[in-house]
Amino acid sequence: MTHPTPTPGRASDALSRVAASPFRLARPRGTRLHLLLAPAFGVLLLAGWWLLAESGRYAAFIVPPPSSVAQRWWRLVEDGSLLRHTAVTLREVVSGLVIGVAAAFWLGYLIAKNRIAAYTLTPYLVALQAVPIVAIAPLLIIWFGAGIASKVIICALLVFFPMLVNTILGVRSIPTELRDLMRSLEATPLQTFWHLEMPAALPILIGGLKVSATLSVIGAVVGEFVSASAGLGYLINFGRGTYDTPLVIAAVFTLTALALLLYGLAAWLEAVLLDWQDAG
């Protein structure tokens, strides 16, 4: 926990507060005003967009006005197609995220704990990250079919690496002293995992999860770009193919909402699991 630097007049101010109630907090909680910052900034961005569209600097087909995007989005909602495409993408995202994060976690754990695994696997895992999906698209489609499986795999591939690196980082950052404590208590590997490694590595793990959750959305979309007939990525491609810029933007906004949702879940997990970080 950090303490704000005292400001002039603060002490006497605090004095009077305490006089009234001796059990006041040392650090009074702030108001909830900060929650308005992001929406306020959003309104600003929206206004900027609107001005740009109105200025005539760009043709309406390149920078369409927010209103036309809103209309298009509403149409998508009404005819149910937004829900359908979002559901498809969401399924790919969730499956890909779960598979990718799980694989990264276990491999990362293995690598962090086992030098042989580290020396053997690391170069190949790094190399794998540099393989463009399109280059292996034919194999992916032949092996996993043109259905959801290939998209899930692509998403999992994208999600894998940040989680892997942060897992290794997190597990390696655990203080030796606490490991010694667990050893002196004859903790089993499983107990060490649950009672020491997981909680100690958690902050860094969740950092990795945040990156992965955000990337997973793009992962599914990349998969849909390779081949798809439904999903938000398909919708974007379709919009581009029919020069329907409002549709493209509406789909992109839906995607970003998905990413924010997943990121928000990770942040919520962080807040719940790491409440000890700001206690005391």
Binding site: F61, I62, P138, I142, V226, S227, G241, T242, Y243
Partner: protein
């Protein structure tokens, strides 16, 4: 003999970037030849080529004025204009729509009606491939629902056909059937162009250029047309120019194949001087409407193309 309106004094060279929505390829031999033989320079054009990989990107940039010219598929012009993009088709390069459906020889898929109950691969339900497919289905009296499955496979048709993952697949007829035949087995190809006259690739610019720089448009059209004529007249020389200077990454062992690709392409080209006709556009528009890609007919379909810049040419 070419009629040239030479200006009194040589004007400064105008830099022009020509957008092509594919990798450098012998299929673009005509512009390579035109560049190599100075046809662009003759028009006062300092030509540059840009290889993009998405036609829609190119059209957007043409419409916004970021690009002046591109080799673009005709139905894209209709779709783009429907959404307010002021792009115009000024020269027909492909007379025949380059999309078709390929199936292993002996599988009995030789005509559109044979597709009923089959699994057909397609890059995705959009773009030129989809247009070609729909034209063929229509010719066979089928709808998508008559297929066992229309499977989106991206640009992996040869792999999927060779592996037998699909019964047939939508392809670009100039090169993909060739690949399958060389790598796997003989195939039958049905060309969309044989069943429906659709507008195919041509030179596209925008209304502002036409308004403000008509001479530039005329120059581009003329240079490209000379290139087309040269390639048709002497494909071997054109091929040589293309592979030596413009497609340097092509290895020699691919020359034979690519030479065949060039021939296949030329067979689709417009040998008549770049003229397109309204009925092709009409057919294409009808198909697009039927496909649901176009909500309603364009107010002025004829505005999609502008044939005023075509040079006179001896057949």
């Amino acid at each position: 003999a070419y009629l040239r309106a030479r200006e009194p004094e040589p004007a400064p060279m105008t830099p022009v970037t020509l957008f092509m929505s594919y990798i450098p390829s012998v299929q673009f031999a005509h512009v390579y030849v035109a560049a190599e033989r100075g046809y662009f320079a003759d028009e006062g054009i300092d030509i540059h080529f840009e290889n993009g990989f998405n036609e829609a990107d190119g059209v957007e940039r043409l419409a916004s004025g970021d690009l002046k010219f591109g080799l673009i598929s005709g139905e894209q012009v209709i779709l783009a204009r429907a959404q307010g993009r002021p792009v115009v088709y000024v020269y027909e390069w492909y007379e025949h729509y380059p999309v078709g459906i390929v199936a292993p020889q002996g599988s009995g898929i030789v005509a559109p009606s044979d597709l009923a109950g089959k699994v057909v691969g397609i890059p995705g339900p959009q773009g030129a491939s989809y247009t070609g497919l729909r034209a063929l289905l229509k010719a066979g009296g089928l709808t998508e629902d008559d297929l066992a499955e229309l499977r989106s496979i991206g640009f992996t048709a040869p792999e999927n056909v060779c592996e037998g993952a699909v019964d047939a697949s939508v392809v670009y007829v100039a090169n993909e059937p060739l690949t399958i035949e060389q790598q796997c087995f003989p195939v039958d190809v049905m060309r969309a162009a044989d069943y429906a006259p659709l507008v195919a690739n041509g030179l596209v610019t925008n209304e502002q250029i036409i308004r403000e720089q008509p001479d530039l448009v005329r120059g581009m059209v003329r240079a490209i047309d000379r290139g087309v004529a040269d390639v048709i007249a002497d494909p071997d020389a054109a091929f040589q120019i293309a592979v030596e200077k413009y497609v340097p990454d092509l290895p020699a062992e691919q020359y034979a194949t690519q030479r065949q690709v060039l021939d296949n392409s030329i067979a689709l080209w417009d040998s008549t001087g770049g003229l397109t006709t309204l009925d092709k556009w009409q057919t294409t528009q009808d198909l697009l409407i039927e496909m649901g890609l176009l909500a309603a007919p364009l107010d002025d379909l004829a505005a999609c193309f502008d044939m005023r810049f075509l040079p006179e040419r001896d057949g």
